[in-house]
């Protein structure tokens, strides 16, 4: 494939969600030529679906609040494999980052004294777990992600960021030295293929919830950035750690915010019992998401599920009253009426744990630099490559993310990556040269699809993949059953590698994009499966029936999945925060 156009920027950001646009904003404000490549118009990115809020200690609801308490909660929530230097940075920088968003115009809800409204969320405490429930999640009604994403888009328009909207990135261009020099991309509208070069390439491509059949994630969440790294031979971290959100609408998968329980809603089984009191006597419905999701599955398995098939539980909100529901949870009323056919003002919402968030991803340091492993087993930054947001694993969420920490993660580390790239560019960092064959390699899979003559179609293969993952790698896992799942994936692999693109047309060919996305989904699913089978303990969201206990002697560490060997290794967790004392691992109860 020759004759493609080359376009150059100082920095390119792949993905127009919160992390990508926050990084882009930082660089555009400094005057660097910055482009966001997004496969959808930026405000269609999945950040828009975040509801409940952004957690950080701005001390509005509680003047005594302290970022160290937030840090304690996050470390505990992570089941102690979140990196404490990164969590410390996030919780400490959080308030400033949120104020910047407010100054940009984000329409936060307000308290009577005019400050930003904060609501209680799961896993939050005062005074290092000793002071009861905290209210630390800053909210714009239940549309915080929408408000945040639009505000960031507005900020980027104001600062003249270049938007290459509806451009789909195919692969990283990696040169002979192992440095990343740019990406290959298709302009979806007319099918033109380009090499987009830059000194810094930031992957902010979000999650990959679409590897599961039942997910709260948008249809676009196909793990593109993680899969690009895997194809380039770079390791990915903690891919076994997938969060199942307790309250996805039964049947539809649509998210119902944890803010519902923060505002006083609770879960009931078929007997009308508030069952979380049995599983988490203190935090009850506001225990960690992994804890609540497992309790719900146990209720169903033990015959106390609701509905004809007894396959879900109910989220009760009617006791909160019309006024609270209309002012604090208006979006939930809309979604429940549309997707569950119930009006929460009068009836409970049928909910099930639903795949929601990828805690794992591209390993990075707190500056957003993507990390690989040297021959000596040390971290080494991949020249030119950065990652932020859900695609990255910095790791602030460890084995279980707390609600409201994803929006914080993406703005704090999008900003941090932007600031660091800014410094490197000031110091004279330049784009790394790529040879024509390096670019050519990054077009292999496109060329394969465009010359396909026969094979299976995308939709059926994707459905099979999602069902395998749903069945074999769900809320509860066992070794034998996961090995069966891995064998099924092995059978599926050649079929996906030989899939057929019937429509070869250039203009707005979504069939081509979906075929490319399917390969990405598979790469992420395979990494997930192998990492999950490898971690023989239960920790956070990774719950094994055959290894029910946490095993700190062997697994108080990250997993690293190496795509070329298809094997996992271990990477140590950071227990060295800069200003506070280390939070030592303890038994995790709520």
């Amino acid at each position: 494939m020759s004759g493609f156009r080359q376009i150059s920027f100082d920095a390119i950001i792949v993905g127009g969600g919160g992390a990508g646009m926050r990084a882009a904003l930082q660089l555009s404000q400094s005057g660097f030529r910055t482009a966001v490549l997004s496969k959808v118009f930026p405000t269609r990115s999945h950040t828009v679906s975040a509801q409940g809020g952004i957690t950080c200690a701005i001390a509005s609801a509680d003047p005594e609040d302290d970022w160290r308490w937030h840090m304690y909660d996050t470390v505990k929530g992570s089941d102690y494999i979140g990196d404490q230097d990164a969590i410390e940075y996030m919780c400490m920088e959080g308030p400033q980052t949120v104020y910047e968003l407010e100054h940009m115009g984000l329409p936060f809800s307000r308290t009577p004294n005019g400050r930003i409204y904060q609501r209680p969320f799961g896993g939050q405490s005062k005074n290092f777990g000793k002071g009861g429930q905290a209210a630390r999640t800053c909210a714009a009604a239940d549309r915080t992600g929408h408000a945040l994403l639009h505000t960031l888009y507005q900020g980027n328009l104001k600062n003249d960021t270049v938007f290459l909207n509806e451009w789909y990135v195919i692969d990283l261009v990696v040169n002979q030295d192992g440095a990343v020099s740019g990406v290959t991309a298709i302009n979806i509208e007319d099918g033109e293929v380009c090499f987009v070069a830059a000194a810094a390439i930031v992957l902010a491509t979000g999650g990959a919830g679409r590897i599961y059949a039942s997910t709260t994630n948008a249809l676009i969440n196909t793990g593109d950035g993680v899969a690009m790294c895997l194809r380039a031979g770079f390791p990915v971290q903690d891919m076994e750690m997938w969060q199942f959100h307790p309250t996805g609408i039964h049947g539809a998968g649509t998210l119902v915010t944890e803010g519902c329980r923060g505002e006083g809603g609770y879960l009931i089984n078929k007997d009308g019992e508030r069952f979380m009191e049995r599983y988490a006597p203190n935090a009850k419905d506001l225990a960690g998401r992994d804890v609540v999701a497992r309790a719900m599955v146990l209720e169903v398995l033990e015959g106390r599920g609701c509905g004809e098939r007894g396959d879900h539980v109910m989220l009760k909100l009617d006791h909160l009253g019309v006024e609270v529901l209309n002012s604090k949870l208006p979006g939930i009323l809309e979604l429940s009426r549309a997707f569950a056919h119930v009006d929460p003002i009068r009836e409970p919402i049928p909910v099930v744990p639903t795949c929601h968030y990828m805690m794992g991803g591209i390993p990075t340091n707190i500056h957003g630099q993507a990390l690989a492993r040297s021959a000596e087993g040390e971290d080494e930054a991949i020249p030119g490559l950065f990652a932020a947001g859900e695609a990255a694993c910095v790791s602030v969420h460890g084995a279980n993310r707390l609600g409201g920490n994803s929006l914080l993660d993406l703005v704090v580390f999008g900003r941090a990556a932007g600031k660091h790239i800014d410094e490197l560019l000031q110091q004279g960092m330049r784009a790394r040269q790529a040879a024509p064959e390096d670019v050519d390699r990054a077009l292999d899979r496109l060329r394969r699809l465009d010359s396909s003559r026969e094979g299976e179609s995308t939709a059926a293969l994707r459905g099979e993949l999602q069902n395998i993952m749903q069945l074999h790698f769900g809320v509860f896992r066992t070794g034998e059953f996961m090995r069966e799942g891995i064998a099924k994936l092995e059978d599926l692999k050649p079929r996906i590698e030989n899939s057929h693109l019937a429509d070869k047309s250039a203009a707005f060919n979504t069939a081509r994009i979906e075929a490319l996305e399917l390969e990405n989904l598979f790469a992420v699913a395979e990494a997930t499966a192998i990492a999950a089978e490898g971690r023989d303990e239960s920790r956070g969201a990774h719950a094994r029936d055959d290894f029910r206990e946490r095993d700190d002697d062997n697994w108080l560490c990250h997993s690293l999945y190496f795509p070329e060997q298809r094997k996992i290794g271990k990477r140590e967790v950071n227990f060295r925060p800069n200003v506070v004392d280390t939070f030592e691992p303890r038994a995790r109860t709520y």
């Binding site: 118009f41 828009v48 679906s49 104020y99 005019g114 714009a140 047309s505």
Partner: protein, 238 residues
Amino acid sequence: MSQVLVSIYRYNPEQDSKPRMQSLAVDVPGDRDLMVLDVLELAKAKDPSITYRRSCREGVCGSDGMNINGVNGLACITPLTKAAGPARKLVLRPLPGLPVIRDLVVDLSQFYEQFEKIRPWLINDEPPPPAERLQSPDERAKLDGLYECILCACCTTSCPSFWWNPDKFVGPAGLLQSYRFLADSRDAATAERLAELDDPFSVFRCRGIMNCVSVCPKGLNPTRAIGKIRNMLVERGT
């Protein structure tokens, strides 16, 4: 299983000299009410060349605005029973009034240009305080019904005034956002914003037809916002 007859507007610039309607019978599960987007996904599984935008599939990203049985709406939150009626027939066309790129995908450049024209960002050159700018709950309540816009273009592409003057009339979505900043107690550019709108076309082409209000999938009221801007412009002139 039951069948739905779907008629879809098809146009591929590389193959078709003019658009055509394609009819497809789609099998849908009988036990629950699908959304129009679910039906489209089933149709695309049969014929992968069918082209449309979609992302969140829950009515918050604004990708899948289209003309559904004659009315603009979001495919992902329009129930099949409501759209197709007892005849079980779905007719899907692109949003009207904009150039078609392919099938149900329109070129939204003019729509976005009008949005950008109103300078859709908070303007306040005062150095910000160390914490947030304060805003009372009442001041914040003025933004309700405005900030929720998802830029799906259902309103603007249903507006005859926009069809006539897409280059000069800002249109309901852009004006709703314009008022979102005019109404924000933190914004300091009211005078400049009004001056930029004070011509015969930008605002005053609105004829109060109110198609925008009837189609908005988020239940917002651009006509009311336009009325408020008109009042501000009139007051400014006196």
